[in-house]
Subunit: 141 residues, 2 copies
């Protein structure tokens, strides 16, 4: 079947025991995966209503309007659901070109590198910060 009814589209999502679903943000233009965050029903409804990514912050236990402090808003271009309904994919326009709180384009800036010679296996940084967190959030933080 190709569609679900108005009452059903949000219930097609397999919310976890905490009422959350993981949401992948991908740059709609470059295809780069930017981050993984979580949404509750309110976050998802607001994301669609406002046309921007709004997550549920598990650490702060509240809605998190991505970019609310940094200005690095994610404009929602497309929203997709996976086959078993337990993951979302958001294709976004990343304002400022920075998704990560460290000032990098993507949160996935560490690449696993195998041991070689005396160097043990490690996570190698692949990206430099475009802006410093101080420049993004102000020196008070």
């Amino acid at each position: 079947m190709n569609m679900t009814s108005a009452q059903e589209w949000i219930d097609a999502i397999a919310w976890n025991d905490d009422g959350l679903v993981p949401a992948i943000a991908q740059d709609h233009d470059s295809g780069r995966v930017l981050m993984l965050a979580w949404m509750d029903r309110t976050a998802l409804r607001l994301s669609l209503a406002e046309g921007r990514a709004i997550y549920y912050s598990r650490s702060r236990q509240r809605l998190w309007r991505k970019g609310e402090e940094s200005g690095h808003v994610q404009r929602l271009v497309e929203l997709c659901l996976d086959c078993d309904g337990d993951a979302l994919l958001l294709k976004v326009e990343q304002l400022g070109g920075i998704a990560c709180h460290t000032g990098r384009a993507s949160c996935f800036y560490r690449r696993w590198t195998p041991a070689q010679g005396d160097t043990p296996a490690h996570w190698q940084e692949t990206d430099a910060a475009i802006k410093s967190p101080e420049d993004i959030y102000g020196s008070a933080q």
Copy 2:
């Protein structure tokens, strides 16, 4: 700091209370996001050792060598960790060009479509199956 020690690289991952971490699989060539699955420590170590994606199936509560039944193995090209260590990104070569058990290239084949006229908001299928599940798994399933 640019690297973590041999003992530390796997401990840099913020495993959840169930000892799992979400892992995004992305086609390394096209950039298409293929699926979201989960890994435990064993799955991650084996993925690196064998050079293919091995997940932990939460529904079956066991290791899941992606492609073990379908042949749709994901060859591991690159493994990245996010800023706060609680999500992995696998760049993979998707053998057979099919990641989804429904026979589609990607599990994210349903796009949210807003209400229009008499048609309520719904998930619109964007991809047809490349192969039928019967052709992939055999008619016994």
